[in-house]
Symmetry: D2
């Protein structure tokens, strides 16, 4: 995982903190996985499959009341905002990848309610060159399946996510928040709100 470039998905590649992951030897854990070097190579040649989750809180009737945004420190010390995001591994189901990344980014006490249907509310296409789509990622061409995930417990972000901040739907749709979101994900938040019937 590069420390030289802005990294929208620091834990996305393997879902493990660096400390547990050793010296980037993802392939040590499973021979089917890629080494860091191989992964870096592949990222310049193939679209990477990602899952993303917009954490939400709901009231008793299932209506979304709050949108969870992750506050994150980049390797360069910048503070940015993002959502749950990470790569799907070889041999892993989309559902398992979604569960793994939600747990990694929100902690083991978040008690997420993953969607019953595997159809995402949006497909976000991240290109290394800005402007091809609403989304960009310096590192790679990534295509993410995006889901809304209600959480019922307490979020204790792990890894480099510093905090989950809860916003009202109105705040979450604001230009101010969108400007702070990594890789154009303000657009994804608005797509989520529209899907939920909460975008005005």
């Amino acid at each position: 995982m590069s420390v030289r470039t802005p990294d929208p998905d620091p834990s996305g590649d393997d879902g493990l903190p660096e400390s547990l992951n050793g010296l980037g030897n993802e392939s040590a854990a499973n021979p089917a996985w890629l080494s860091e070097f191989e992964l870096a190579q592949a990222r310049r040649r193939l679209p990477m499959l990602y899952v993303e989750a917009v954490p939400v809180r709901t009231d008793g009737a299932g209506q979304v009341t709050d949108i969870g945004i992750l506050l994150r420190a980049t390797p360069l010390g910048e503070i940015t905002r993002t959502i749950v995001s990470g790569r799907v591994r070889f041999g892993e189901t989309v559902r398992d990848a979604l569960f793994r990344h939600v747990e990694n980014d929100l902690g083991p006490m978040a008690f997420p309610l993953l969607p019953a249907s595997p159809v995402p509310f949006a497909v976000a296409e991240y290109f290394p060159i800005p402007g091809v789509s609403a989304f960009h990622d310096d590192r790679q061409h990534a295509v993410s399946l995006a889901y809304v995930v209600p959480v019922t417990g307490t979020c204790e972000p792990r890894q480099d996510a510093l905090e989950v901040t809860w916003f009202s739907p109105e705040e979450a749709a604001s230009d101010a928040l969108a400007a702070e979101m990594e890789g154009g994900r303000g657009t994804l938040i608005r797509q989520a709100l529209a899907h939920l019937g909460l975008l005005r």
Copy 2:
């Protein structure tokens, strides 16, 4: 509510048992609502808006493991199968109607997780004449917005629903079950399973 005809949605009209509802005086409770007579008239002239819910149980990762089907005794003493189903009242939101009918049909301890998005997985069109669509309802032209609703508690059906039976996705998709479902709702169960990625 008629006792003369098969009635696919016995609690649909008002969400109250007959005994609580008195002599059809729904309008007594709220002047905006229709009397039984007026409702019967309207049913022959206007499409009625319904909501329906397929109750499901899920595992820890949100994957649906069981489909809940209501076993019901008709006024004529027949035993049939159906799902949660009922009318949207004047001034009521779709979400409130869905919550009300889920609670009425599954009891107050079902602890349903209503979907965050108001977009249904299917729109089922019930016509009084069989064959116009996959669905029919002798009483009326009804258009229902259908949702999958995970339940986390204990279902204690009220009113004339005798029991909730839980089926595996394979059983729920079977021709045998479809043949027992009221008004063609076996098709709706299969649409739900397809939406969930569980139809083979």
Copy 3:
């Protein structure tokens, strides 16, 4: 049809120009339909089922390039903006209602491509009291199933729709346009754009 109140769906009730419809004798054409008086009564007691269509133009790869908005003169002489909108009749399928209203509002040469799936991109709930939801309609409680409909021909609005104006996705999402839309339909346009992956 009232001439006293703002009327978001002037042609919605019967799908016929006033001139053909005579003095409100809808029931003359089909005894199952309601007289104007009966319809007015029902509107105060039952949610009305509507369909709505956002007309779009697409490029050769199916990407939406333009959003069609109807410019309309109200009975009071105001100019407002709206989309294709109208009631589903008793016995009519949602698809047939959608086709009928698209043809009525865009003319016979619009050559619309109705969606293959009957699942709407949004369910819009219009209440007579403003503020219950994003949508309101002085006349009634209406629940509309909303679809995106590409048109390939020439739009020649009939009835009281004066003109179809084509906007870019950016223009269609603007606050300025939303302020001119009837009944809160600017929100529906944004939901459509989000569904299309075109909302920034």
Copy 4:
């Protein structure tokens, strides 16, 4: 591309006939792409992103009347059935990939109407080991975004697709057809039919 194993997506890798593609020199055309060897390596390490299309014919009101299934000869001379299917290239949008594979598999005169929304009706997960999901692919772990694509012209399959056969919705849902489909795609056809409201 292997000639030793069943190949569910013969044209999927590059969208070019073998004859034009030369000796696996995909990378000659674009240095960002993978050589055949590199692609084969990556396939054992990363999930591959695919798009799939179920070709359909519709009537004037947009209702699907026929489902198109490709009859295909495998390199071993077997005749199997499949749908439009192929890989998304590095730097390519999902829409462009879908258009490219539809044109490759159905010919330049098919005049497809690609969906306005980028949200697929289903996400099909193909695993190299049968039984993990409904779908399998000996060669790789592939995740495909599946779309319904109406075609308005004449299909003249290119490459190794011998023929497009049109089936009624009932025929397309049959066990007999499902048994002939590659990689479990009979399930995907049924999901498409359910999405279209055509599965009984």
